[in-house]
């Protein structure tokens, strides 16, 4: 038995020796030569601590430059992706939005220059313009609401409460659910509003006594209250992280000096999470804008991109869709910058 194992071991060692010697004397030599050739050819040469390109461009290899090289190597993936999947499409869609563009099986994309015609058509459109208007109205009302609501919940959870994990599980449910089609389904089932809110006479009062320009956004706000508050998922996380970074001793010092809990909230808690409000606003605006509802702006853009034949009156091709997307994006940026601007103005006054 011992003999057998010994012979088996011997057999493997001989094979391994052969493989390793083959690797050392044949393969790795080739690799070394390839590596040497890569840095010692006519185009790139390394002599001492000098990198020579084309024989006449001489670059000193310093630690700083080596670090920069490795840094670029690490983010090379992102740079390539950015150029191909983001930068080029951005400019191309800008280009398309000024053209009338259709897809043709033989020639690919056929474009004819129309200038700002697409944008003008959007502003003339009977269906799109009210949609943009209601989008703005919804944003102006909903974003502050979500911010206030998420600050409230974050402060509540941050209290020393029993069953902390249980409450957190409930309040972070939107992180899992709100991005999905589940919300669409709930909206279809009329489950996005609190029943008591929907039945109350406030709605009737609002729609009867106020002009439609303010009544409509308010009405949609009240009827889709839950839907809006469900966007508070990530903002709650953001504010909670901010709250946990506040030093406990500040509260103690304030309490000793006689500050009431009410004062402590306004004078300590709010100012210290104020820088996070901007981040939260950007997040809320983006996630609310990207929610695709049936018949919404993004849905219409997709329809113009995909459906129909060129002779159909409902189909305006890629250019029109690109123009819709760009106007939508600009509105998004405007809303964002207004909100963030308002907050930073208030900070400067202090």
């Amino acid at each position: 038995m011992k003999k057998l194992t010994l012979s088996v071991g011997k057999f493997f060692t001989t094979i391994w020796n052969k493989i390793s010697s083959f690797y050392v004397y044949k393969v790795s030599v080739v690799f070394e030569k390839i590596g040497h050739a890569l840095v010692h050819n006519f185009i790139i040469r390394i002599v001492g601590l000098k990198l020579i390109i084309f024989g006449f461009i001489k670059i000193d290899i310093t630690r700083k430059r080596r670090e920069a090289f490795y840094g670029y190597m690490f983010i090379l993936l992102w740079i390539l992706g950015y150029l191909v999947f983001t930068l080029y499409p951005t400019f191309y869609s800008l280009y398309l939005s000024m053209h009338e563009a259709y897809y043709n099986l033989e020639d690919g994309i056929v474009t004819t220059y129309v200038g700002f015609q697409n944008y003008l058509n959007i502003f003339r459109s009977q269906t799109l313009l009210p949609l943009f208007g209601s989008y703005l109205g919804k944003m102006v009302i909903a974003v502050p609401l979500v911010v206030v609501f998420s600050i409230m919940i974050a402060v509540l959870i941050n209290n020393p409460i029993k069953l902390k994990g249980f409450w957190r599980t409930i309040f972070f449910l939107p992180v899992v659910i709100s991005t999905g089609p589940v919300i669409n389904e709930l909206a279809n089932q009329d489950a996005t509003s609190l029943p008591s809110l929907q039945d109350s006479s406030i709605l009737i009062y609002i729609s009867e006594n106020l002009g439609p320009w303010i009544a409509n956004p308010l009405e949609t706000l009240l009827t889709s209250m839950l839907l809006i508050l469900w966007y508070a998922g990530i903002p709650i996380l953001i504010f909670l992280a901010g709250l946990q970074k506040i030093d406990k001793s500040i509260y103690e010092a304030a309490a000793i000096d006689g500050a009431s809990p009410w004062d402590r909230f306004w004078k300590i808690t709010l100012p210290s999470i104020q820088p996070l409000v901007g981040v939260a606003i950007i997040y809320i605006v983006v996630s609310m804008s990207l929610f695709v509802e049936l018949g919404g702006i993004l849905d219409i853009a997709r329809t113009h991109m995909l459906v129909g034949a060129p002779d159909s009156t409902f189909w305006h091709g890629y250019g029109f869709a690109a123009a819709i997307a760009w106007i939508y994006f600009f509105l998004m940026v405007i809303v964002m910058s207004i909100f963030v601007g308002v907050i930073s103005i208030r900070r400067k006054e202090k």
């Binding site: 920069a68 983010i75 993936l77 191909v84 983001t86 589940v182 997709r302």
Partner: protein, 310 residues
């Protein structure tokens, strides 16, 4: 004797109600818990609504007297939903696809975040700003041109249309993930890397042997978030990959085909409501399970990884 008793009693009651400095008193606690319960109703209501209605029969759905407790549990809804969604098979394909994409996103954003955090190179600030701007400039805005790019690359209607951008750090919400890794790698002291470098390790080796093992909490966080977000993303997936790749997309297709058969308002349109809700429950069930298992990571690692983007 009686007077003193009354006084101590009053003091004790006051102490009990208001505590030492109001915050630890009974009244404050009542207010806190009332607020918590009423707010949690907002988040639980849709889920409960979905759960209850998915067990209702058609009679219960139409009957206005029945709101919360169905007269009989209708498990048939679930068997039908399983049939419609082709469940055991479709859950595997969905998971396989989402795993592929979210793993690609996690790995690529770890590499990119490390590059931004640990190296100094010219134009770093500009590139970082551009990276953050991709969050505000969403895929939906560039979708028109992106579709043509994918068509030219021959990626249209294949899963690669989402996997390739994910590999190159341009996936959905990739800026957030890169930011999370950036924040984390910033906190690792550079001395660690330098000592490894002195010992002769290459940068790749430092990244694999030192940075990655330290970053496991952030990796879990990013993986979970990307998993959830890719699972729930229907607009982009339907546009680029098409067909019925994921469970939510299958559900959408089912709803669309059903509503063409029975438009809302006609008799028979209520018939599928319960089945649809059952399907919805099934579609988010994997996410809910994942969420309850990994809840700790969702919640606790947030401030450690710095999603706040300060």
């Amino acid at each position: 004797m009686k007077k003193i008793d009354y006084k101590t009693f009053r003091n004790k009651a006051k102490r009990f109600m208001f505590g030492m400095n109001f915050v630890d008193g009974f009244i404050y606690k009542i207010v806190i818990y009332t607020l918590l319960i009423s707010f949690s109703y907002i988040y639980l209501y849709p889920v409960l609504f979905m759960l209850v209605n998915s067990f209702m029969s058609v009679d219960d759905l139409i009957n206005p007297g029945i709101k919360w407790i169905p007269s009989a549990l209708q498990f048939e809804n679930y068997t039908r939903a399983i049939q419609v969604l082709e469940l055991p098979k479709s859950i595997i394909t969905t998971t396989a696809y989402v795993l592929k994409v979210s793993l690609a996103v996690t790995i690529s954003s770890a590499i990119i975040g490390y590059g931004f955090a640990k190296f100094n190179f010219p134009l770093k600030k500009v590139l970082f700003g551009l990276m953050l701007a991709t969050f505000i400039l969403p895929t939906q805005v560039t979708m028109v041109a992106n579709m043509l790019v994918f068509r030219n690359l021959g990626l249209m209607s294949t899963q690669n249309a989402l996997v390739l951008p994910a590999i190159f750090g341009q996936g959905i919400n990739a800026a957030i993930y890169i930011l999370i890794f950036y924040q984390f790698f910033k906190t690792i002291p550079g001395v660690l890397m330098e000592s490894a470098e002195v010992d002769g390790a290459s940068h790749l080796k430092i990244f694999l042997k030192i940075a990655i093992p330290l970053a496991i909490p952030s990796i879990i966080i990013v993986f979970l978030f990307s998993f959830v977000w890719y699972w729930n993303e229907t607009f982009i997936t339907a546009l680029y990959v098409g067909g019925q790749v994921t469970l939510p997309l299958k559900l959408q297709a089912f709803r669309a085909s059903y509503s063409t058969l029975f438009p809302p308002g006609t008799p028979g349109s209520e018939l599928n409501e319960a089945i649809l809700l059952a399907g919805n429950m099934l579609a988010i069930l994997p996410l809910l399970v994942l969420y309850f298992i990994a809840q700790r990571y969702f919640v606790e690692s947030i401030d450690r990884t710095g999603i706040t983007g300060e």
